[in-house]
Symmetry: C3
Subunit: 159 residues, 3 copies
């Protein structure tokens, strides 16, 4: 395994055969990230890969737990791609303070934590040491573009 955060990020992309557009832009009138006062907020990310939503549907109904875990992986890697682009390197991430994971859920699907675990595991693997973060995962009724998962985060940034 690569010894740098940026290297491990690229390894994770390669393992999942993912590549995002060069310059990730918001769909409308907002920013994908805002850095101010030692913190950076990243907008809610869905599992979009070069213009396509890779995982759609209601988890526990038209999408499986494993589909949703893959959606969480893509969404967190997209968030890390934005952090890296804005900060120059993932080494400038001091701590991910919070990740909030929204799962488009069937009425009786209660494994939102297991979905979020897939994103948490990547944060630990890529940002180690220092991948620890707080987390909230909830089951929502719908998400933009029928995405199976959406997640956002706020991180503390090294000067």
């Amino acid at each position: 395994m690569d010894t740098t955060r940026d290297g491990r990020f690229e390894q994770a992309l390669a393992e999942l055969k993912l590549s995002f557009e060069e310059d990730i832009r918001p769909g409308a009138n907002y920013e994908v990230a805002v850095e101010h006062g030692g913190q950076i907020y990243v907008s809610g990310m869905i599992p979009r890969v070069r213009g396509t939503i890779a995982v759609t549907g209601r988890v526990g109904d038209t999408a499986t737990l494993e589909d949703a875990r893959q959606a969480a992986r893509i969404s967190i890697l997209r968030s890390l791609a934005i952090l890296r682009s804005r900060l120059g390197t993932l080494d400038r991430v001091a701590r991910v303070m919070r990740m909030t994971v929204y799962v488009q859920s069937a009425a009786d699907f209660t494994q939102q934590s297991e979905v979020a675990d897939a994103a948490s595991d990547l944060l630990y693997t890529i940002l180690a040491p220092g991948g620890g973060h707080t987390r909230t995962s909830v089951g929502v009724y719908q998400l933009p573009k029928n995405a199976a998962v959406e997640l956002d985060l706020v991180a503390a940034v090294l000067a």
Copy 2:
């Protein structure tokens, strides 16, 4: 168009024929805003106008996309009214770091981003330059008082 943020805020209120109560108070035992350490958090706002919820219902079912966009406009203007009241002027807003938009959604309503756009557009118009913000929009199952939309925000504040 007015050249000041406070002036453009008042213009937006006038265009929507809106006026909020003089002193916006919370419904119960919490604060509408808390400022500390260079940040101000604003509580979740629903499209309440002088005691009445202006837009209720499930978007994509008993409320339309345009109803929801109007709800988002009222909710963000209410948030800005609180910021202005607490900070004295909107000029003290350094950056809106995050706006989270909750849309009471029908099972197949997937245009939560288009709802949030209406609030984002007002942030850009009123706070320019400096209206950029990150955003998360999700579709929830219900909201307090059957509101069609609820949104909250956190902003960085100039000293």
Copy 3:
């Protein structure tokens, strides 16, 4: 009533006949709290008491408003237990900046604010003076482990 925050916290636990495990740990690969730069984030808490989810179900259907208020009380006390453990004493909480309350709701259940009030009231009682906080409460479709309520918070910390 006890004159210290820590004392009032213990009184509240005793009144609700609650005791949490000695060392509250996350269920998976994340942290229950992260402190950095004068802020502490606490992960989303469900009404777990020593390994059991005390209040499950859909509020307005298989769980009542009062059930949900009890779930909110347990969840906020669990959050305060984590704050106390990490900070040494609740006296180091400068302000709770935001509490977000997610209520597993029936389609027509619109009293999410009344659920959140139960947690807000405890914050005021235990942290007084200084229990004021902003709040967002929404109705979601499901929650981890079928919990009736989940809540998270971010607080400013005294040095």
